[in-house]
């Protein structure tokens, strides 16, 4: 199983250690205006080269919810990396996925917001030529296993905050005055929406889970299903997060379970951990190892 993560900017890329990872998704897919975002920057080629020079796979992500006006910007990005060493393009829009497959000779990964719930849709994507799928965040491990049977590569989130909603604009900018900061600086702030113990993390146009999905106790199950890549979702995190979490999961794969490592993971986020929807339960619950 590959361990992969995402890095939004060249600045963050140069400051964090990629060592525990096999592959890096470059760019923040949720907002064009994010400061230094590689999906809207000429730095993208340098970023790909940097990742490749460390012997890692370089994946380039694209804007998650493209409208008509966004399409030329996405294809401009892809044109810019045509002759680079990039290993795959990630998209979460069926139209963009289909277009890339028809017009370019790239490997394509369909991301988690593509809404792939069924093996029927996975089969359609395989016919188009898609190489890897991240199933909808909402489906269970049993259902992921059925999608795996189509033969497509599967990637799932093993740790981090999962998207719980994406919109056409950023609701956080409504609070610029009370936060005393403006876009794009505003989404570097660690702020949360809270209501009766329910916590969400706004980050540009996306709303993330307040808790970190943690699958540390269930890695064997993921391997058994045939998961090809486990993603550490680090897009909204501080730089050290990726390295710490990545090392723990690398040890988990190469050495095995360690109670101390698990405890470290559980303490990383003050809002705690959960299992998302992998076990067909309320998303914010943590099931533990007893499943």
């Amino acid at each position: 199983m590959e361990i992969v993560t995402n890095v939004p900017t060249l600045e963050q890329l140069s400051k964090c250690s990629l060592e525990p990872y096999d592959g890096i998704y470059l760019g923040n897919p949720y907002c064009w205006r994010y400061d230094g975002n590689l999906i809207a920057s000429d730095d993208i080629k340098n970023a790909v080269e940097l990742v490749k020079s460390e012997g890692k796979k370089a994946y380039v992500t694209t804007y998650a919810v493209p409208r008509n006006k966004d399409l030329p910007l996405i294809f401009k990005l892809i044109d810019a990396i045509m002759d680079s060493d990039v290993d795959a393009i990630e998209s979460t829009n069926l139209g963009v996925i289909n277009y890339i497959k028809k017009e370019y000779d790239f490997r394509v990964h369909a991301g988690g917001l593509t809404n792939i719930y069924t093996s029927a849709t996975a089969e359609l994507l395989v016919e188009i030529g898609v190489e890897r799928i991240m199933p909808a965040y909402e489906i269970s491990l049993e259902e992921i296993e059925m999608i795996k049977r189509t033969g497509v590569e599967i990637e799932v989130v093993i740790h981090g905050k999962i998207p719980l909603g994406i919109s056409h604009n950023c609701f956080l900018t409504k609070f610029e005055e009370s936060l005393g900061e403006k876009c794009p600086d505003i989404c570097r702030r660690e702020v949360y929406f809270e209501s009766d113990g329910l916590v969400l993390k706004p980050f540009g146009n996306v709303t993330l889970s307040g808790k970190d999905v943690c699958m540390y106790e269930h890695i064997e199950k993921l391997i058994e299903i045939g998961v090809n890549a486990g993603r550490v979702e680090g897009i909204s995190e501080r730089i050290g997060y990726r390295e710490r979490v990545g090392r723990i999961y690398r040890r988990r794969l190469e050495v095995g379970f360690d109670r101390k490592d698990l405890e470290k993971l559980l303490s990383l986020n003050r809002h705690g951990v959960c299992n998302g929807f992998y076990f067909n339960r309320t998303g914010q619950l943590y099931v533990g190892g007893g499943v």
Partner: protein, 324 residues
């Protein structure tokens, strides 16, 4: 004053939350009515129809020379795709001429089996651009439901470039997120259940259960120490279109009124209102838009009262205080 000079072929589509509502909508002037197939649509099961009710609804649609659309727009599990195909084939043989689907793979499978069934790609598909609309058309969709956030210019461009049918919601709500791309409700609370052999996820709108509308809770914005804002909702607003309709009917194929969960009387009134408005546009009569606006405002006030009651009920249901 608007001058009504339109050659109108636009379809007025209304909700059928019960057989009674199906009857009422056709009587009030709907060209077609959509209903949810029990366990398979994007609403609570109490607003979905059992098989024998579907047969009644098909008969009523025939009496009015109208179309009955069967909603299968909850996304099934992979293991339920076969069951879904069987159900669609059975309803097709009983006289259903159109279905609403959410899963593009399923759209393709249905199209491969039933060449002349009308397939509508649901609002839950969240189709955002012309490349995406084209893929849905290629998979077999005759019509797509436009996301409420798309502008008229975007819809026109999709129509011109793809030539697929376009359905627009004229009575609905715009969510905090793109519809079909929100999992906040299931993150708050999710209760897997069964309706017959069909699994059903209370708390997941995409999977056919109810949405607990967590966006309408009272939220605060905090970094764990300071509160920067308090007592706000995440936006989720209802809308009723009126002045936009003369522009819309120039390039869209279907105007849809949402609201299977409202009372039959209210929905009947909304349908009748829009029927009269469209007929007025079609004829040469002058339209006093202010007068129409006043009438719509009266309808909206009653609708808001019904919706508030529903929202409070859903919030209690998410805490297990009431059963839906």
């Amino acid at each position: 004053m608007l001058e009504g000079v339109f050659e109108l072929h636009v379809e007025l589509l209304a909700p059928g939350g019960s057989v009674e509502m199906v009857q009422k909508c056709f009587e009030s002037g709907a060209n077609s009515v959509y209903v949810g197939v029990k366990g398979w649509s994007r609403r609570a099961s109490r607003y979905e129809l059992e098989d024998h009710e579907l047969v009644d609804a098909i008969r009523i649609a025939r009496d009015f020379n109208g179309e009955l659309r069967a909603g299968f727009n909850a996304t099934p599990s992979s293991s339920e795709v076969g069951m879904c195909l069987e159900k669609i084939e059975s309803l097709y043989s009983k006289g259903v001429s159109a279905v609403i689907l959410n899963d593009i793979g399923l759209i393709k499978l249905v199209r491969d089996r039933l060449k002349d069934l009308k397939i509508v790609a649901s609002i839950g598909c969240n189709i955002l651009n012309y490349h995406e609309a084209r893929l849905y058309k290629d998979a077999g969709a005759n019509m797509i439901v436009a996301d409420c956030k798309l502008s008229f210019d975007e819809l026109k461009e999709i129509k011109e470039k793809v030539g697929v049918g376009i359905e627009v919601l004229i009575h609905a709500n715009t969510d905090f997120t793109y519809l079909g791309k929100c999992w906040m409700s299931g993150y708050l609370s999710l209760r897997p259940d069964k309706i017959g052999d069909k699994s059903y996820f209370v708390g997941s709108p995409n999977r056919g259960g109810v949405c607990f509308r967590p966006c309408l809770k009272k939220w605060c914005l905090t970094d764990g120490y300071a509160k920067f804002a308090d007592g706000f909702n995440l936006p989720n607003d209802m809308f009723l279109m009126l002045e936009e309709i003369p522009t819309l009917v120039e390039f869209v194929d279907c105007l849809k009124i949402q609201g299977r969960e409202y009372s039959v009387e209210l929905i009947g009134e909304i349908v009748s209102f829009y029927r009269r408005f469209l007929d007025c546009l079609k004829s040469d009569c002058n339209i006093n838009i202010e007068q129409w606006k006043r009438e719509l405002l009266r309808i909206a006030t009653r609708r808001d009262a019904e919706r508030l009651r529903k929202t409070l009920l859903l919030m209690m249901a998410s805490e297990g205080k009431v059963k839906l």
